[in-house]
């Protein structure tokens, strides 16, 4: 991997506020192309707020978000999405009342060139046979795991520049967690840069290149994922003192 290349994501001095409450204080973050950066931290550390600010769902109060050299600070979620950022949140990014096929058509619409749209939908359906079987079923009637497959199918059918995976494995059966990580590996092998927010610390560290640990909205540790050994992480993630 060429770490000298321009990083896909650069976050500088990012601050997120909800009214008077501050969730993220001056966070710096860098994700080189093709790397997996794990963002770890206890509940309320500001992980999801960070993801929300990067993907444009919450306007940052201060700081910068630069995507492949373009400043996207304060841009809307839809325009950031069109710049090649896929966001897969824990709470299933699908349309419950549309069919599986229509879901993919919408999710892939701005992710692939016009003449590849139909083919991309078919690619996505092929990846998970269960989805192909249920292509005319409303997505809301799928099980939790199948819904997450739908979200993953979108990512794999049209690899984004940056994937922000926010607690994707939350609430899934172990077999499905395996599937999520297998899919993420596939995506990484396709060259997707991944910002991985995870509760399965061990698995996340085994998978990631770098790790960042957040606590109370600030970065308290950062370094290569291999250095983030068990005691160190436990020390940071343990109960708030």
């Amino acid at each position: 991997m060429n770490s000298a290349a321009e990083p896909v994501l650069v976050v500088g001095g990012l601050e997120v506020r909800y009214g008077d409450a501050r969730a993220v204080f001056g966070v710096d973050l860098e994700a080189p192309a093709g790397h997996v950066v794990a963002v770890l931290g206890p509940n309320g550390a500001g992980k999801s707020s960070l993801a929300a600010a990067i993907t444009g769902r919450v306007p940052p109060a201060a700081g910068k978000v630069v995507l492949a050299g373009h400043d996207v600070t304060g841009k809307s979620a839809s325009s950031i999405s069109r710049m090649g950022v896929a966001y897969v949140p824990e709470e299933r990014a699908i349309f419950p009342h549309l069919t599986v096929q229509d879901n993919l058509r919408v999710l892939l619409r701005f992710a692939v060139p016009r003449d590849d749209r139909a083919a991309a939908v078919e690619r996505a359906l092929e990846m998970f046979p269960i989805l192909a079987e249920r292509r005319r079923q409303q997505a809301g009637t799928l099980s939790g795991g199948e819904q997450q497959m739908l979200a993953l199918a979108r990512v794999l059918a049209a690899p984004p520049t940056l994937l922000v995976a926010d607690e994707m494995s939350l609430g899934l059966a172990p077999r499905l967690v395996d599937l999520v990580f297998e899919s993420l590996e596939k995506a990484r092998d396709e060259g997707v840069t991944i910002l991985l927010i995870e509760q399965y610390v061990e698995r996340a560290l085994a998978f990631a290149n770098e790790a960042v640990i957040l606590r109370r909205g600030r970065v308290v540790w950062r370094g290569p994922a291999v250095d983030a050994h068990a005691e160190l992480v436990a020390g940071y993630l343990g109960s708030e003192g």
Partner: protein, 706 residues
């Protein structure tokens, strides 16, 4: 039978086109557009102006009105109002669209001076003038009717194709399903909403253009169009387009067929069916609401990006002890001094306003404290008024006792209504109470012994303790009586707010679920609020009738009630002073006279808007700037009233629409800044202070860290 089926089919087709627009805009933005009929009216008036005044032929006029101007109107209104409403409270959403409902027709009459408020004109139809005719199965159909049916069918087919088979339809369905996920997928939800408002307005406009050659352009017809659309939307559970379309057709058919029978003879009793046709939409709406109860609540995802853009700080702490009394005493002094600086005519007008202020406290309780939008309060007031008038005039009870009885009679009916509708949330409660209220109007108030061919029932002014309250000698006394009644009622409301019930209601407004989990009985508190508000409505209705000398149906029409609620909310629905100001404002602007002074008064009144009430009684007024602002506004207001009231200038037809327009704009303003101008100003000042404090605090933290 044939002609009735045809007429039902035509009526149904027009409202089906209309409801499609209503459901589309609701689905995409969660704003239920009470101005839908008014938009149809605007486009119909434009169409009439083009064909009749400008000499255009019908098809170009229809195409320009429906396909060009209507979407632009929709886009414009979306940009200035609807866009901001998705994240507003249900009350603000409701009031803002009601404001447009009132303002748009006024605007249409200002722009196109060929039409006046009460007029009813036929336009030339698309089927030719006079329309050609042909026979189908022995029924004569004219081409205007045929155009309507063909138009509705074309809209249904076209709309289905658009939604099912085009990328725009797919993205619209996605954005309606989940705006949050749509944004993640790269769809701009605002663009989709804007497009749906354009389409929705086009459909409203088309309904208007189809309706006007058959039933004419009058506000009544377009209100009926709105009402049928509301009912059909409820039948379609607000979001199902096929169900709503079918519902509209069904209502049209039932209404059409009901014209066949004027009365129903059950052998032993004969019913008049006069009130049946207009009740159909409401009966169906009420049945549907009760049947759907609990099945579906108004729910939508909140898009964090689109949250309040202006940062707000908490209002200043309320005063305690003797200082708290300063505000109310000042208001009382101003009120009691009114007979000194106003002439007899205006004392009469202000008396009616104070009586209405008592009535408006019902909204302070049920909407302000309870957070519920009830549109039946006006009917409860009507019950109070008619009960009092009947008892005082026909049964010769003392007037004061009859008034109290009027309030008491309203209570069980209010509780019955509450029992029926309280489980419905937000918008559904509003529609349920609307239906209840209209049914009461058609089945009870419409009876001859109440309606009396529109003249109602007379009621005298009270006389007791030897004091003369009559018009001839005791005008001032009657005014003082009303002021005292208002103060007592206001005291009751303020104490209710401070009681346990008030606390429960406040908790409930923040989160009904959270309040319920603490073990308090929400139902009990809601019932107490509804019962109290019913009594106040009944008493206020009686007083209002006394101040007029009669209880009439015109005073207590449901639409009047909706406008009342809108005015109270614009002024501040949590404040008793807001209710009083709203009452006086309403009476001052509503009499149809040609005096310029009204316009000045309303401008002044808008300048003083609602927030003065909030300032009095909060510590903010004791800051130099707050006090200056309050005193200044009050001084300008009183000076303007004293100086300008005697000025009488003949007004043109156009200018007469201005107060209505201003009221509507007030509601639009509400959408932009739900808490009013003065709040905005104070908020900015306090925000700047807060920022300074924050910077200092941040500096201190940084220092401590190093």
């Amino acid at each position: 039978m044939g002609p009735y089926i045809l007429s039902g089919l035509v009526l149904g087709s027009i409202s089906a086109v209309s409801v499609l627009g209503l459901v589309l805009t609701y689905s995409s933005s969660r704003v239920f557009n009470f101005a839908h009929g008014a938009m149809a009216y605007f486009i119909a008036v434009l169409y009439w102006w083009l064909t009749d005044d400008q000499g255009w032929s019908v098809w170009p006029a229809a195409i320009v009105s429906v396909l060009v101007v209507a979407p632009l109107l929709g886009l414009f209104l979306w940009a200035i109002v609807f866009r901001r409403l998705t994240h507003a409270t249900p009350v603000v959403r409701f009031v803002s669209t009601v404001g447009l409902w009132v303002a748009i027709p006024a605007l249409a009459r200002i722009i196109f001076p060929i039409i006046s408020a009460g007029s009813d004109v036929q336009t030339r139809g698309l089927g030719g003038t006079p329309p050609g005719q042909f026979d189908v199965l022995g029924v004569t159909v004219n081409w205007n009717q045929a155009t309507v049916i063909i138009g509705a069918a074309a809209v249904a087919v076209g709309f289905t194709i658009l939604m099912r088979f085009t990328p725009l339809g797919l993205m619209t369905r996605a954005a309606v399903d989940s705006p949050r996920v749509a944004a993640i997928a790269g769809i701009n939800p605002s663009a989709i909403t804007a497009i749906s408002w354009m389409l929705g307005t086009m459909l409203a406009g088309l309904a208007g253009v189809l309706l006007s050659p058959l039933l004419g352009i009058s506000e009544i017809q377009f209100t009926l169009l709105l009402v049928v659309s509301l009912a059909a939307a409820v039948l379609g559970r607000m979001t199902s387009i096929p169900l709503a379309f079918g519902g509209a057709m069904a209502i049209g058919m039932i209404q059409g067929l009901s014209e066949k029978w004027e009365s129903a003879n059950l052998g032993f009793v004969e019913f008049s069916l006069d009130g049946f046709k207009p009740s159909v939409p409401f009966v169906l709406m009420l049945i549907a609401l009760l049947a759907y109860q609990g099945l579906r609540r108004e729910q939508f995802e909140v898009d964090l990006r689109a949250g309040p853009t202006e940062e707000e700080v908490a209002p200043a702490a309320r005063l305690t002890g003797w200082k708290a009394a300063i505000g109310p005493i000042a208001v009382a002094l101003v009120l009691l001094s009114v007979p000194i600086w106003l002439n007899d005519f205006w004392i009469g007008v202000v008396s009616q306003g104070v009586a209405l202020g008592v009535l408006f406290l019902t909204f302070t309780v049920v909407t302000g404290e309870g957070g519920m939008v009830s549109l039946a309060q006006v009917s409860l007031a009507g019950i109070g008024a008619f009960t009092a008038a009947k008892l005082a005039t026909d049964a010769e009870w003392p007037v004061w006792l009859a008034l109290l009885a009027g309030g008491a009679v309203a209570v069980p009916i209010g509780l019955l209504l509450a029992g029926l509708t309280l489980r419905l949330g937000g918008l559904y409660l509003a529609l349920g109470t609307l239906a209840f209220s209209q049914l009461l109007r058609f089945t009870v108030f419409g009876r001859d012994d109440f309606d009396n061919f529109g003249s109602g029932v007379a009621i005298d002014r009270p006389e007791f303790l030897g004091i003369d309250f009559s018009i001839s000698g005791g005008r001032d006394n009657f005014y003082y009586l009303l002021v005292i009644v208002f103060m007592v009622a206001a005291l009751v409301v303020v104490n209710l707010r401070r009681s346990t019930t008030g606390l429960v209601l406040t908790a409930m407004r923040s989160s009904e679920q959270a309040a319920a989990t603490t073990g308090i009985s929400i139902l009990r508190s809601k019932l107490i609020a509804f019962g109290t508000s019913a009594f106040i409505a009944g008493l206020g209705g009686g007083l209002f009738a006394v101040s007029f000398g009669r209880a009439t149906n015109v005073s207590f029409e449901v639409l009047v009630g909706i406008v009342w609620l809108a005015i109270v909310v614009t002024w501040g629905v949590r404040s008793v002073l807001g209710a009083l100001m709203a009452g006086i404002l309403y009476v001052v602007v509503s009499p149809p006279t040609d005096k310029l002074s009204f316009i000045f008064v309303i401008i002044v009144v808008f300048a003083m808007m609602g927030e003065t009430a909030r300032l009095i009684g909060s510590k903010a007024i004791y800051t130099a700037r707050g006090a200056l602002l309050g005193v200044g506004v009050l001084a300008v207001g009183i000076t303007a009233i004293v100086l300008l009231l005697p000025v009488e200038i003949e007004l043109s037809e156009k200018a007469k629409e201005v107060p209505t327009l201003l009221f509507g704009l007030g509601a639009v303003f509400l959408a932009r800044q739900p808490r009013g101008v003065l709040f905005d100003v104070m908020n900015r000042i306090r925000l700047r202070q807060l920022q300074r404090e924050r910077q200092l605090a941040d500096g201190a933290t940084a220092e401590a860290a190093t």
